[in-house]
Amino acid sequence: MAATQIEPLPVKTAAHATDVVIETRNLTKVFRDFWGRPKVRALNALDLQIRRGEIFGLLGPNGSGKSTTIKLLLGLLFPTNGQALVFGKEATDVAKNERIGYLPEESYLYRFLNAEETLDFYGRLFDMPTATRKRRIEELIQLVGLQHSRRRQLREYSKGMTRRIGLAQALINDPELILLDEPTSGLDPIGTREMKDLILRLRAQGKTILMSSHLLPDVQDVCDRIAILHQGELKELGRVTDLLTVQDVTQFRAQGLSKAAEDEIREVIARHGGQVVGMDHPTLSLEELFLNIVKESEARPGRRASQK
């Protein structure tokens, strides 16, 4: 997927970390039934500020209000109460869409179009002149690695390919702000890795990214800051490193220690009034293992990974 670099955006303003791109104030959404009676309080009094150049993660179980927040920010839903501001303007203002890219939960695209037609269509929606559009389509198809399926109708695409073309359409206008709803859902570990790499690369180009996910490792790997939602309420908000660091636990990692040395260290800890919580040999995460195997297999085809 990472064959070509996406052309970097000429940074319009110096990326001040304090520039607020998205702001919600007391944002509330209540879904009503046919008779206007409140049915579900999908989002309750959310206050958020997302700044330029950061990757912000919305984390929470299914039905916690992540997608609702994104839809409110896109103007697909209207707030029951409060405000959703994007680039300082109401989210219902169409003009903001010029600077936004959106990858929906599932790639809702016209299944009777092929990859090129799809990108061409969305390019036209940005009123792009033909030459720019052509160049951009070429770049994006390379970027998401769909060179070999560019003329196939989307109905024939696998889940992963649909995701890629969905991402390509979200980037067609080289947006400043990218909203990704469950970007890694349905992707295999390689796809997930590539998606995460791409997100990081986009950030390196100065773009702001808001992503929602219920897959914790994904959020942990890429997000600068996260908000944890549960049942429409904001439960936690902060930098990932701060949130995950357990202040009263100290962790050592060493290599080449003998059993005697380990015992001695236990003793030292006990003497200082500490308590050994755990001391063992680390395992790889399954993700790391899987990725290693694939990498190995690509390097030496036809061999089982364990036959070293």
């Binding site: 896109l74 169409v94 936004i100 929906p104 809702y108 929606l125 009123d127």
Partner: protein, 626 residues
């Protein structure tokens, strides 16, 4: 069915007769032109719709919030969306709409059309007195209904499907405006419809021309000495062979030339005769005169009653469709007088090419073999003229056909007191200021002629039939535009099936608008929806009082009145589809004249624009993911 049409110039249609309108007198409101009517209705909608919207929003959000919401939507539409309108975006949506239509097997509609034509060919009544009319009616009506149903299905389901499949999410999060989505869809479906309609037009044309095309042969044995009255010696007459269920008669003059055949089944044939050695060969040419487009020059009609007073319309001879008024025959002053303008010798070299399409009402059978007798007088519109009128020119009425009756330049003057007949010249003696009057009377006592403005006209030349045929299809195209726009408009806030029903509802209301108005005003018996439903269920006659308790009757009447009021108001907002129907013109062989096309185009554009604006606001203010 003779040709029936209310003639109206474009400007009269547009502006009406403002001087005749009295604000409080509803009977004078018929003089309101389209422009004023449209402005009034659009003004009411422009005032009323935001107010209703405000009320609805106020219930939900409170008055101040609601006012802000409505004001912002309208202000934003005018200052933001309108100036940023992009044709490229609109056409991009149109292109996807075309692809979607093709994917949705819109071509099946085309296949249905072909199958219908095949079967029509089998079932058409070829013994019909006017097969051309039958052929033309069938192709135009079939195409019309098929295309409208297709437009309805395409337009009503597209946007709701996008919303259901959520493909709309990736579209509306781009800088596209609601108006561009609405217009793009309409353009896309119209592009598909236009291509299909053009193909149907071409196929229909071939179908009609080939279906009617035939020829006859002449056998020597069928030519016999002439038997008609005062036949010159040596002349002969003959009949052609039978084909397409008819045969023609023709004459052979004494110098050996053959006349064209008689006019049967709506056409005639040119004959030719050649000598091949000792043999005389008669040839019958192709059918002619059935596929034509008369380009009539209409005049203004004034009807006089038996005392000679000018009346609005002739007598009504019964409760039938009151297109024509009737003038009484016999020795009284009843007459129908048409005034034609721009009569110059350059234009009408050989006199007035008059053609008539009168209806006849007989109060006694008389000689049923011949028509009712009438007389034409050409009159000078100048009351001070030396020569007031020509002498009466007698004619025999012919029903259900356009009756050609050319008036020559040289006419007999009205019989003078001394009984001598003088010759007068049409242009020198009777035309005044380019105008001339044609007066028609019925001379048989107690017989009546039915007359309307379009019944007597001049026919200096014909228009091209193929062009007129295309114009007939253009009328269908305009109807398709309206159905498509309304379908897309309804689909901006209704689900697919409901939008389709609503669009179908506008079609039905548009086609039966006159009936609905009659029911609403009480002119048609049987009551409103509830009352007529009860009458149907209980099999009660429409003329009797409803057989239910008085309080119930009153309740039903009130409900009906409210419902009919709404429907009545709707008939003014929704397009009158019947008005766009020009199949009658093409089938009867009349050119669809420019003024009429102008009226249709203007009306269609106004309805299109209004519906597009309404659709825009609905889509703009709709919670897409809600």
């Amino acid at each position: 069915m003779p040709f029936e049409h209310h003639v109206m110039t474009f400007w009269y249609w547009l502006f009406g007769d403002p001087l005749k309108i009295r604000f409080l007198d509803a009977t004078t409101w018929t003089h309101i032109g389209f422009l004023l009517g449209a402005l009034i209705i659009l003004f009411l909608i422009a005032i009323g719709a935001p107010f209703v919207w405000f009320l609805m929003a106020a219930v939900k959000h409170g008055p101040s919030e609601a006012f802000y919401l409505v004001a912002r939507a309208i202000y934003g539409g005018a200052t933001d969306d309108l100036p940023r309108f992009s044709l490229r975006r609109t056409l991009a949506v149109a292109r996807v709409a075309v692809q979607e239509a093709i994917r949705n097997k819109v071509l099946i509609g085309f296949a249905v059309f072909l199958v219908l034509l095949l079967f029509a060919g089998l079932f058409l009544d070829v013994r019909n007195a006017n097969p051309a009319r039958a052929y033309l009616s069938i192709v135009l009506t079939t195409t019309n209904y098929l295309v409208l149903v297709m437009a309805l299905l395409l337009s009503a389901f597209s946007l709701p499907n996008d919303i259901k499949n959520r493909t709309i999410y990736t579209v509306v999060t781009k800088p596209i405006r609601a108006g561009e989505i609405v217009l793009g869809r309409v353009f896309g479906f119209m592009a598909v419809g236009t291509v299909m309609l053009a193909a149907m037009c071409a196929i229909s044309y071939v179908f009609v021309v080939r279906g009617l095309s035939h020829t006859h042969t002449i056998k020597a044995a069928d030519i016999k000495p002439a038997s008609w009255k005062n036949a010159p010696p040596g002349s002969k007459e003959g009949v052609t062979s039978t084909s397409n269920h008819h045969q023609h008669e023709f004459r052979v003059e004494k110098d050996g030339t053959v006349s064209q055949t008689d006019f049967i089944a709506g056409h005639f044939h040119e004959n030719s005769v050649t000598q091949q050695g000792a043999e005389t060969v008669y040839r019958v040419g192709p059918n002619r005169g059935d596929l034509i487009a008369r380009a009539p020059v209409f005049g203004n009609l004034v009807v006089h009653d038996r005392e000679g007073n000018v009346v609005e319309k002739g007598i009504n001879v019964g409760d039938e469709w009151t297109y024509r008024g009737f003038i009484e025959g016999g020795a009284n002053r009843s007459a129908a007088i048409w005034t034609f303008s721009n009569i110059t010798p350059e234009r009408y070299k050989d006199g007035l090419p008059l053609e008539m399409n009168l209806a006849v009402f007989r109060t006694y059978k008389g000689d049923i073999e011949r028509g009712v007798l009438g007389e034409i007088t050409i009159r000078n519109p100048n009351p001070e003229a030396k020569v007031k009128s020509s002498g009466p020119i007698p004619f025999e009425s012919r029903e259900f056909v356009a009756h050609r009756f050319p008036i020559p330049r040289e006419l007999n003057a009205a019989p003078a007191a001394d009984g001598r007949s003088r010759k007068i010249d049409l242009f020198r003696d009777l035309v005044y200021d380019g105008k001339v009057e044609v007066s028609i009377r019925c001379v048989e006592r107690s017989q009546y002629f039915g007359v309307a403005q379009a019944d007597v006209y001049l026919r200096p030349s014909d228009s091209l039939f193929a062009l007129n045929f295309a114009k007939g299809f253009f009328s269908i195209w305009l109807q398709m535009l309206l159905v498509t726009t309304y379908g897309v408009m309804f689909s901006t806030f209704l689900s697919g099936p409901v939008a389709a029903l609503a669009t179908a509802g506008t079609l039905v209301l548009g086609m039966f608008g006159h009936f609905v108005r009659d029911v609403a005003t009480g002119a048609a018996e049987g009551g409103g929806p509830i009352e007529s439903f009860i009458r149907m269920i209980m099999q009660q006659n429409v003329m009797t009082e409803l057989e239910v308790a008085t309080w119930m009757d009153r309740g039903i009447k009130i409900c009906d009145k409210a419902m009919m009021g709404v429907i009545y108001a709707l008939t003014f907002v929704l397009p009158d589809y019947l008005r766009f129907d020009t199949s009658q013109f093409v089938a009867s062989g009349y050119n669809i004249y420019g003024d009429l096309v102008g009226q249709h185009v203007t009306a269609a554009l106004v309805y299109f624009a209004a519906a597009a604006v309404v659709g825009y606001f609905f889509l703009k203010t709709r919670e897409i993911a809600g």
